[in-house]
Symmetry: C2
Subunit: 284 residues, 2 copies
């Protein structure tokens, strides 16, 4: 164990089948625990269950469907190993909170269900035939650090902003001062504030760690994730991660958000797509 | 019921919990049943289970993890409704074949597990704020119809090519004559050969209905899908669907394949991303 806050957030006690974790007050967006933390927890639970069954240790792809808002407090992680194969293994993870786990929630509730396929990321690192190049961005020291004062009342409830060093490209923060660009793109550098280096589980958190790209489209309020699938493509090098999130299809209160993450060597290490809800200005 | 072959392929008998279907000889790629058919079946099973529980009837997003190759023959569809909510409902579907269902397969095997979130697509059709424009392509009559003679020995085993009218953009079929472009992009028009019009379940099939984009990168052989997630964004208009598949990240024997589908009105109706395996020329 380490003293890093992200590792503490992923601490799981008990055996697969009866594993438990504590969803922390420090990783919330308003009242709810961030979905990226739930995905990283599911990745860790899948890893523990699959390696226990003789399978693989690295998440290659995780698909999460979000069922209800997770609240700070105890949670149960139910894991089922579907396959422990030669080149990949697959597990299912359910994150649940029971009545009383979260004081405001009266019923037993499943928060998220995920399918996770694992393999050996080191084996898939080389050779690189094609790789998306990172966007041109000012260096972190010339970007704008996101903190809980940026973006008005809402941002004050985003406790996880205290745990990350998130530097937004100045070209993509007009929304914070009432001037969204309308392009549907945010770019940022990101790392943990306490110096923990990124690893595959951290990538599962960071793919959902930026403000919603809908802010850049002029949409108001938070954008609840319905589903998010992340592909992890390589172990990240130590240092900053570079993130670009974009949306090209916004209709009828739904949009997709595509995230790409590059490591400090400029290697694409993860990509994700989520389907999320939003309320556009003027919408009924 | 109709006489259309796709509807016959999706015929499910029995109640959710004990539902069964027959995976047809007519939808194979070599010995295996196409993954898009499994996804459409899972979508239909989820729809039946969720509407039976008072939930929603349209697939919004389906995430499928593929566990073993499905073979023609009987299959079981185990469905669990996770949530029947106000705006969305979520179900899990497992496609299994038991020992003896497929003559060549000696053991009970799970073929695919999927998480499916459903809603009301009509409610999400309008207004359209942003939509990816379809690519410029020659009309279907100036494209190249894919049949089992195109692409050599391998294509002769793709029985589903008899059931679709697939017209490849001539600019993206160099691979069929040994000259892949290396761009990682295929474009095509597609519809069912028997005149069945597209609907959301058909979109789940068509997102995986083209040759693998890895052919355009010079990769040999089939590209097994590890995971595929599809977002359905609108009911398709009758007529041709336009499809573009691309891959930008190919490394260590894995690549992503992104598909976009537009209907005859030029509306983006579906998009998908899959993680798949491939063997590049010269790879060990």
């Amino acid at each position: 164990m380490t003293d890093f806050e992200f590792d503490a957030a992923l601490a799981i006690v008990g055996e697969p089948g009866g594993a438990r974790a504590t969803l922390g007050e420090g990783w919330t967006v308003g009242p709810a625990v961030n979905g990226g933390i739930l995905m990283a927890l599911a990745g860790e639970a899948a890893r523990a269950a699959v390696t226990g069954a003789g399978g693989h240790g690295d998440v290659l792809v995780l698909s999460a469907h979000f069922l209800s808002a997770a609240l700070p407090g105890p949670a149960r992680l139910d894991t089922e190993v579907l396959r422990a194969g030669r080149s990949t293994s697959t597990a299912q993870v359910s994150v649940r909170q029971a009545a009383g786990d979260a004081p405001d929630d009266p019923a037993d509730s499943e928060r998220m269900r995920a399918l996770v396929t694992l393999g050996d990321l080191a084996r898939h690192a080389q050779p690189v035939h094609r790789s998306t190049a990172p966007p041109h961005m000012p260096p972190p020291e010339r970007c704008i650090r996101a903190d809980r004062s940026l973006g008005g009342e809402f941002a004050r409830g985003i406790t996880m902003l205290d745990r990350v060093d998130l530097r937004l490209d100045p070209d993509t923060v007009g929304w914070a001062v009432g001037r969204p660009s309308g392009r549907g793109e945010l770019r940022a550098w990101v790392r943990f504030a306490d110096g923990r280096e990124p690893d595959p589980l951290a990538l599962l958190y960071f793919v959902d760690g930026l403000p919603p790209v809908s802010f850049d489209l002029g949409a108001q309020g938070w954008a609840p994730t319905i589903e998010l699938t992340a592909h992890l493509r390589a172990y990240p090098a130590p240092g900053w991660l570079q993130v670009r999130v974009r949306s090209a299809n916004v209709a009828g209160g739904l949009y997709e958000e595509d995230a790409e993450l590059w490591d400090a060597d400029g290697r694409l290490v993860a990509q994700s797509r989520q389907l999320a809800g939003l309320r556009m200005p003027g919408a009924a």
